[in-house]
Amino acid sequence: MNKGAIRLLYRKIIDADAKQLWEKYVFNDSYAEFLLQAQAYNQEKKYTSFADMLAQSPNAEKLHFLVSASIVGYLRQLNGVVPDIVSSTGKLFLPFKSYRFEIVSSDIRDKSKHQVAVNFMSEQLVWHDTIGDKLLVSVAGEKQAGAELLTETFAMQPFLGIYSLQKPV
């Protein structure tokens, strides 16, 4: 059975309440980079919040991308595996190569208002079936002719969505 190929999107939000070391590093370094890069879009220092900078200078949208450079080193440390999302056996299993970083909110005077999101877009998974509340999938490329197909089962959960669906031909 094959319902199609899907890509999952996990939106991981990181803010001042970050507990894990990895999240703290992303939080601290993205804020430091925000302080550096935001100066170009706030040259008269009129605004303190990212929202105000966006409202006054449409080019401030570039800050999402520019600040993301500070966290790519941490993405590498994940070795291509989406964090937090575990299979029903409790293992991380979701491969990714693409991502988008967002500044949700920030303020050059108040670090506690800094909040970012890392959107992990998974590689394609083959969605075979749904068992109860779990999806039965295999990572694309796992299949070998005549061989047993290794699969994963996982539950949909908050901040995890299906980004794309490619119907079987």
Partner: protein, 243 residues
């Protein structure tokens, strides 16, 4: 980096711990330096201490911003270009400014920036995250005020003359100057008409003298470029800032 800092402090604490009774030494690992300086025991007998066990890793380590790197090619095709930028301080008789952050960014051989590689509909970068910031980088100036990047000769896009963007910060991260670096026209003409990655796109449609950015400031924004298509080019340029 933080881990090194921790280890260094840990060693300092051990140095003190060696002269206090073992029971206190055990508490020491979570104690602060200030409390350890008040202890004055002198057992001194244990000269070696068990090596601590650590998490089996992998676990995250502090990484410098991925902007901090000298090679910014990230797989982009083009004629090799070494970019040497010297930062000088107008407020200090044009002496070299050390410790300054220098960010540069420029377009590919055919005129694209890494910023604009997102998919048109979805907005998620389709290129591998490890290459998502190609042709962008940050270096810190040395004692001569110099930074060096390894890159490719930029292409051009309409309606601009070929250029490299640069943003200079002082060591504390305060923005000092956002500027651009222009290229000698004869070199551009050679690269854009003879080098394979550039030929199809042809020569720039905007001369330095007609460019919206450079036309009124070319004298201090024009770089010096030497080399050849086969051997690669070296760009040297000085940027003067008030720091």
């Amino acid at each position: 980096m933080e881990r090194k800092f921790f280890l260094r402090n840990g060693l300092a604490a051990l140095g003190v711990a060696a002269i206090v009774p073992l029971s206190n030494a055990c508490k020491k690992s979570s104690g602060s330096d200030s409390s350890s300086t008040t202890s004055g025991g002198s057992s001194g007998s244990s000269s070696c201490t068990a090596t601590s066990s650590e998490t089996g890793g992998p676990y995250p380590t502090i990484t410098p911003s991925s902007y901090v790197r000298s090679n910014i090619v990230d797989g982009q095709a083009g004629v090799a270009l070494t970019i040497k930028i010297t930062i000088k301080n107008l407020n200090n008789s044009c002496a070299a400014l050390s410790g300054a952050l220098v960010d540069i960014w420029h377009c590919t051989a055919v005129g694209y920036y890494s910023e604009y590689t997102d998919t048109p509909g979805g907005g998620y970068a389709t290129i591998d995250y490890t290459a998502s910031h190609f042709l962008r980088g940050r270096q810190v100036t040395d004692s001569n005020g110099l930074v060096t990047f390894t890159s490719i000769f930029p292409g051009w896009y309409s309606p601009r003359a070929p250029h490299i963007h640069a943003h200079i910060y002082n060591a504390a991260g305060t923005s000092l100057l956002i500027t651009q670096i222009a290229f000698p026209t004869d070199i551009c003409n050679t690269v854009y008409t003879t080098a394979s990655d550039y030929k199809a796109h042809g020569t720039q449609d905007t001369a330095n003298t007609a460019d919206m950015v450079f036309s009124d400031s070319l004298a201090n924004e024009l770089s010096s470029v030497t080399g050849s298509v086969s051997a690669g080019y070296v760009l040297t340029h000085t940027i003067n800032v008030s720091a």
